[in-house]
């Protein structure tokens, strides 16, 4: 039987090997999760914040000098889990200091730190500063950690609704197998994305749900593009004697450029913007990039393999056996010719 895609990577027959990758990630994630749980960022922890104000506009190099010296003071005062972000414009230029302060145990230490900053920071950085900087610190503020429960609950409801929507849409537009396979693939994508977030230890802030939705929407988008291409093969005569796997290879081959364009452009723009913001910003972008890779893997490998296994299974198995037998016969004939 002639294959319609000469450049195919035969991933469907090696499905079980491909699945080793997510299974290993899932196992490692379960271990990591049991030991350390999710790596929650400052949004979900008890954090004390205060501003260090400069009282004037400072240049980039002055900003850097003040940041470096503030870091030195923080370390000298014994702080390890903290974050410094730039904040403000013009005369409001300054730094925002966030310190993890579980059960407010560090309150007195933070008061000492504030007075150290006011007395030492300018002196330490003055060689690199030309602007008339006057260091002041604002009142400290304790932020109660945001509740992750409601966010996770409503996100789960939304994603389940999307899965149901995708199931019915694919069922009506394509076939029942496409419906439940795409829903199952989405569930697999959610599990894999969660596992990767656990394994990579990317800190999760309030925006982490965006990565789940980007993953979900892209998986749905990619699966739809592939589904349309597969649908074409179900009607065309030239595919009448093709196995499901061959149809899938043809469909993926036909659409791979579009999938790669979308993926490359999105990752490219995320990487380009990643270094223009603070740490929380970088963590959000990283989790979205992980989601994009998961979407690509799930929709091209996982979803299409499942579809090829389950769509008119009995008929496909018969066809595969016949193709195999014909191929064996052909091989045998070729061997005969060599012997003669």
């Amino acid at each position: 039987m002639k294959s319609h895609n000469t450049n195919k990577i035969d991933y469907i027959s090696k499905f079980k090997y491909w699945m080793l990758l997510p299974i290993v990630v899932l196992v490692v994630a379960i271990v990591f999760g049991a030991i350390w749980g999710f790596n929650l960022d400052y949004d979900f922890r008890n954090v004390t914040t205060f501003n260090v104000k400069f009282g004037t506009t400072v240049s980039q190099s002055e900003y850097k000098a003040l940041e470096t010296n503030l870091n030195t003071i923080m370390k000298e005062d014994g702080f390890a889990d903290y974050r410094i972000d730039r904040v403000g414009e013009g005369a409001q230029n300054g730094l925002i200091v966030k310190i993890v302060n579980t059960d407010n145990k560090l309150d007195s230490q933070i008061d000492t730190l504030k007075s150290d900053i006011e007395t030492k920071l300018y002196t330490m950085a003055q060689d690199s500063i030309e602007s008339s900087v006057v260091i002041n610190t604002s009142e400290k503020q304790d932020n109660i950690p945001s509740s992750i429960g409601q966010l996770v609950l409503l996100s789960s409801v939304a994603i389940l609704c999307i899965i149901a929507f995708v199931f019915f849409y694919n069922w009506i537009r394509y076939n029942l197998v496409a419906g439940y396979t795409s829903s199952l693939a989405l569930l697999g994508g959610l599990a894999l994305h969660t596992a990767l977030l656990l394994v990579t230890r990317i800190p999760l802030n309030l925006n982490f749900v965006v990565s789940y939705f980007v993953m979900t929407i892209l998986s749905v988008l990619f699966a739809t593009i592939i589904n349309n291409s597969i649908k074409g093969t179900l009607k065309e005569d030239k595919f009448a004697k093709s196995s499901n796997a061959d149809r899938v290879y043809y469909a993926v081959g036909k659409t791979k450029n579009i999938l790669l364009i979308v993926t490359t452009m999105l990752i490219g723009l995320l990487l380009a913007i990643m270094f223009f913001g603070g740490l929380s910003f970088i963590y959000t972008i990283l989790s979205i990039i992980v989601g994009i890779f998961v979407a690509l893997f799930i929709s091209t490998i996982f979803y299409t393999s499942l579809w090829s296994f389950w769509y008119k299974r009995a008929k496909d198995n018969r066809l595969k056996k016949r193709i195999e037998a014909e191929n064996n016969k052909k091989d045998k004939k070729q061997d005969d010719k060599v012997l003669v």
């Binding site: 904040v87 409001q92 409601q150 309030l206 380009a272 223009f276 913001g277």
Partner: protein, 428 residues
């Protein structure tokens, strides 16, 4: 004739793009209306990009509140967030320790309408006067248009009905016939001082005047009064403090550079893939982008980082759909169709795929709105802004421009990067 039409279409689209590009940088009042058109460059920035002000308030729970203090505080946070969401894309409210709540808004001051507080109706002026009706006595509050008068309809519960009847009786018999309504325990500035001339025992009342001039002010007034029903008061002695943008100039600059780079990269990519046909398709993509820019300006969009991501996601999706159509044409040509025929048969092949993609992505995006996250809301909202332009151009304009292109090139496959498959002859 065909050539003339093609040139006309390209020129019209180009003029539209250039005009919209100009509108991106200018703002002006629309003649004959109160509406100010704000160009994209002058749109309001969200908190994380443009900064704003914040204030911290002390919380007090009413004696009549049934439930724990924690519950009351949580309800207050939810209510304030709801009030802020009416006007801002990414305003924040969060609880601090020691019974305090902080509000951050991308504005120059915090309007008192965003603050929940006790409602006190009194027959006499001042802090010491007895509270006759409070939030616990009210069943519901809503904006209402009575004839041509905008106002607020207040319905009392069973106990409230009697209390309000007694209050109106007392006030109507007093010398100045003025009822004093206080909010947030601000006894120096009454929230409202309606005149009462007779006893009201209907169990409801309608307040008009008091600065309620239109539907918007009426709704705002109603929301403020409705906030009193939760039984939590917020008050502060502090002035609003300016907060700088967390992302600031640096990130804004990055966003501008990345947006321009993405547009340039997509044009280069289209040219590499389909040469002249790719450039023609980019005209359609840019047309859609400019439609989105105009819509953004018309809805006075607030610029946030998540919103910007949603906008770019919409752009990338539209670009991919445009390229998809060209891929299908290329495939049709490779399989033996004539140059011109491949454009129309390719459209038939791509149409339902594009439609499916738009429907399923938009459906999924709308379902995402269930999540109470401003990032998700802005991401979705901005994507939806691009949807009109995407649908119009990917489903129709791209095809028109591509077919127009055949007026200039009917057979030169090298100019569009098409290749016929080996051993395939042209289908007659």
């Amino acid at each position: 004739m065909k050539k003339k039409r093609a040139i006309r279409n390209y020129v019209l689209a180009s003029i539209f793009i250039v005009l919209t590009l100009v509108l991106t940088f200018v703002s002006f009042p629309v003649v004959g209306t109160n509406y100010n058109f704000l160009g994209l460059g002058n749109l309001q920035l969200g908190l994380e990009l443009g900064g704003g002000v914040k204030n911290t308030y002390d919380l007090e729970v009413a004696d009549w509140y049934k439930g724990s203090k924690e519950n009351a505080y949580k309800t207050a946070v939810d209510r304030v967030q709801y009030l802020l969401n009416q006007d801002f894309a990414d305003a924040k409210v969060y609880l601090n320790s020691d019974d305090k709540i902080t509000i951050e808004v991308p504005a120059t001051s915090i309007n008192s309408n965003y603050v929940v507080g006790f409602l006190e109706m009194k027959s006499e002026k001042g802090a010491d006067a007895e509270v006759k009706v409070s939030g616990q006595d009210i069943e519901s509050v809503k904006y209402m248009l009575s004839g041509t008068t905008h106002g607020v309809y207040i319905e009392f519960n069973k106990e409230g009905k009697q209390k309000f009847a007694d209050l109106t009786e007392t006030v109507s018999n007093s010398s100045d016939q003025t009822m004093y309504i206080y909010m947030n325990k601000d006894y120096d500035n009454p929230f409202s001082t309606p005149k009462v001339t007779e006893k009201n025992d209907y169990g409801y009342t309608f307040i008009s005047g008091a600065g309620i001039t239109d539907k918007k002010s009426g709704q705002s007034y109603a929301r403020k009064l409705e906030s009193a029903l939760i039984g939590v008061n917020m008050s502060t002695e502090l002035d609003d403090i300016e907060v700088g943008a967390v992302f600031g100039d640096y990130t804004r600059l990055g966003m501008t550079i990345v947006t321009i780079a993405l547009i340039v990269a997509s044009i280069i990519l289209a040219y590499i893939l389909f040469k002249q046909l790719g450039l023609v398709s980019c005209l359609s993509v840019l047309f859609a982008l400019m439609v989105s820019v105009i819509i953004s300006a018309c809805v006075d969009l607030q610029v946030t980082f998540a919103g910007w991501l949603g906008f770019l996601f919409g752009y990338v999706l539209n670009f991919a759909l445009h390229m998809y159509y060209l891929y299908v044409i290329k495939k049709e040509y490779a399989m033996g169709k004539k140059f011109l025929v491949s454009f129309t048969s390719g459209y038939r092949g791509a149409l339902f795929n594009i439609l499916d993609t738009l429907l399923i992505v938009t459906g999924g995006m709308l379902l995402m709105l269930i999540v109470p996250s401003s990032a998700i809301r802005m991401f979705t909202f901005n994507y939806l802004i691009t949807l009109a332009g995407t649908a119009f151009t990917s489903l129709w304009l791209n095809k028109v421009f591509a077919v127009d292109y055949t007026a200039f090139n009917l057979k030169n496959e090298k100019k569009v990067n098409f290749v016929r498959e080996e051993n395939v002859d042209e289908i007659a």
